[in-house]
C-alpha cells in the first residue's frame, strides 16, 4: 500500500473525485430548498428545480407580453453583441499597441508608462465619466470593457514581443526585411498565439464589466435582467441566468482554445520563438 503522498488517481477515479464536491453542493441545495419550501410554500430564497424550470420555460420559450421577444434570447443577443464588439476592439487595439510598444524601443519608451498608468485605474471608477461623455447608450458600456481590458492585453503582447529572441529579428533583417516587413512576417505571427491567450484571460474581466454596466444603465441584457428581477427576489430567474452566463463564458473559452490550437499548430509544438 503506497503512502498517501504517492497515490495518484486514475482517469476514471479522477472524474468521480472531480464530480463529488459538485454533487455534494447540489444535494445540500436540494435538501435546504426542500426544508424551506415545506416550512413556507411561498419562500423565494431557495427555489426548487421545478420552479426554476418553469421560470426558464417562461423566459426561454414564451414571447414576452410587453415586447413580443423571447426574453432570454433577446438578453443574450444584446449582451453578446456588446461583449463581442468590445472584446474585438480591445483585441485589435491591444495587439497594435502591444506590438508597437514591444517591437519599437522608441515607442516603448513613450507608451509604456502611459499604458502602465492606465491599467492601474479601476475601470468601474471611470464608469460615471463614460456615462457622462458617451451617454447611457451602447457606447459607454462597450467603452467600459475596452478601457478595462485593452491595457492588460497591450502589456501582455508587448511582453511577448520583447521575449522574441533578438536573433530572429536580426535574421529577418539579414534576409532583407525592413521594419514594416519584420513586423508583418515575424513579430505579428509570433505574437498572435499570445493574443488568443490574453483575450481568453481577459474574458472574465470583460463579463464583469459588462454585467456591471448593464446593471446600472440598460434596457436589455443578461446583467440588466438579473438586477431587474432582484427587486422581486426572483431567485428562480436569477439562478438559471447565472448558470447560463457561466455556460456562455465556458463555451467562449473552449471555442477560443480550440481555434488557437487549430490556427497555431506550430506554437503547440513547443520550443523557442
Amino acid at each position: 500500500m503506497a503512502t498517501l503522498i504517492n497515490r495518484r488517481p486514475g482517469r476514471g477515479v479522477r472524474i468521480v473525485l472531480g464530480m463529488l464536491p459538485l454533487l455534494l453542493l447540489l444535494l445540500v441545495y436540494v435538501v435546504a430548498s426542500d426544508m424551506r419550501l415545506s416550512a413556507n410554500a411561498a419562500d423565494k430564497l431557495l427555489p426548487s428545480f421545478g420552479q426554476m424550470g418553469q421560470a426558464v420555460a417562461r423566459f426561454a420559450l414564451e414571447p414576452s407580453v410587453r415586447t413580443g421577444d423571447i426574453q432570454l434570447w433577446a438578453d443574450t443577443a444584446a449582451s453578446l453583441r456588446r461583449l463581442g464588439l468590445a472584446v474585438g476592439v480591445s483585441a485589435l487595439a491591444g495587439l497594435l499597441i502591444g506590438m508597437v510598444m514591444g517591437g519599437l524601443p522608441l515607442a516603448g519608451a513613450t507608451l509604456s508608462p502611459l499604458v502602465a498608468g492606465l491599467s492601474l485605474i479601476p475601470p468601474l471608477a471611470v464608469l460615471p465619466v463614460l456615462f457622462i461623455v458617451f451617454g447611457l447608450g451602447e457606447v459607454a458600456k462597450v467603452m467600459l470593457i475596452v478601457i478595462g481590458i485593452t491595457p492588460v492585453i497591450a502589456r501582455d503582447i508587448a511582453q511577448r514581443v520583447r521575449e522574441i529572441p533578438r536573433e530572429l529579428i536580426v535574421k529577418a533583417q539579414t534576409l532583407g526585411a525592413d521594419t514594416w516587413q519584420t513586423f508583418l512576417r515575424v513579430i505579428l505571427p509570433l505574437a498572435l498565439p499570445r493574443l488568443f491567450a490574453a483575450v481568453r484571460l481577459s474574458l472574465g474581466a470583460a463579463w464583469l464589466f459588462l454585467i456591471a454596466a448593464e446593471a446600472i444603465a440598460a434596457e436589455s441584457g443578461l446583467g440588466y435582467r438579473i438586477f431587474l428581477v432582484r427587486r422581486y427576489l426572483a431567485m428562480d430567474v436569477i439562478l438559471p441566468y447565472v448558470a447560463w452566463i457561466t455556460l456562455l463564458a465556458a463555451l467562449t473559452d473552449l471555442v477560443m482554445a480550440r481555434m488557437s490550437r487549430r490556427l497555431f499548430r506550430w506554437a503547440e509544438l513547443g520550443q523557442q520563438g
Partner: protein, 265 residues
Amino acid sequence: MSGMAFLALDKVWQRYGDQTVLEGVSLTLDEREFCVVVGASGAGKSTFLKLLLGTESPTRGRITMQGESISAGPDGRRGVVFQRYSVFPHLTVLDNVVLALDLRESRWLARTFGTARRRARDEARQMLSAVGLGASEDRYPAELSGGMQQRLAFAQALMAKPRLLLLDEPFGALDPGIRADMHQLVRRLWQELGLTIVMVTHDLKEGFALGTRLLVFDKVRQDPHAPEAYGARVTYDLPLNRNASASALAEVRATLENAKEMTDG
C-alpha cells in the same frame, strides 16, 4: 590603404563603458575566403561578428565592404547562421526558405502570389534539396532535429544571396557525428556557390578542417588589477592550406590552451 578590399577593418576599437573588448583591429578579407575566428572566451570573437553583422557599430575605426560602410545595421548583404534561434518557428521549412524571396518581391505585403509564388517555391525547393531537406518541406522547425534545423538555417540564409556569410558557432549545439556531416555540407556550399564566410568557433580542430584562413583573437596586454582595461587583438593570422606550417599551428594551439587556463583559473 587598398580602397577596394572586399572587406576591410581599419583600426577598429570596441568599448563598453570602461571595458575594452577589441583594440585596434585592422585586417582585410578577400572574396571567397573562408575565415575562421578562434579565441578564448571573452576575447571578443562574438563582438567581432556583431560588428561585421552591423548589430553593433565600432567605438572607433571603420568597417567597409567594397568601400561602403556597413555599420548602419544588419541588411541583406550579410547573411547569418546563429547557434540557436536561426529559423522562424511559425513558418514551415519551405516557407522559412521562401521568406527571403517574399521580402524581396513584395515591399508592402511581404508575400508572393500566383506565378511569382510558384517560382519562389521552386527556387526554394532547389535550395532545400541542396542542403538535404527536400523531404521535410511541410514540417515546422520544432519537428526537425538540431542538425536539420541548422541545415534549414543555411538554406534560408543563402536564399538572400548574401555577399558575406557569417557563422556564429553554428555547430556548437550539435552532436559530434552530425557535426561532421555539417562540416561537409558547409565546405561543399562554400565551394559550389563561391561564398565568402567568416565563422566564429571555439573548436580549433573545426577551424583547421574548414577554413582557408585562421584568425586568433587574444589579449596582448594584461593588467591583473584591471582585467577589463585592455582589449583583444588579432595575434595570429594564418593561411590554412596543406603548406600551413605545423609548428605555427602548434603554437596557436598552445596559446589558446594557455589563455583557457588563465580564464578558467
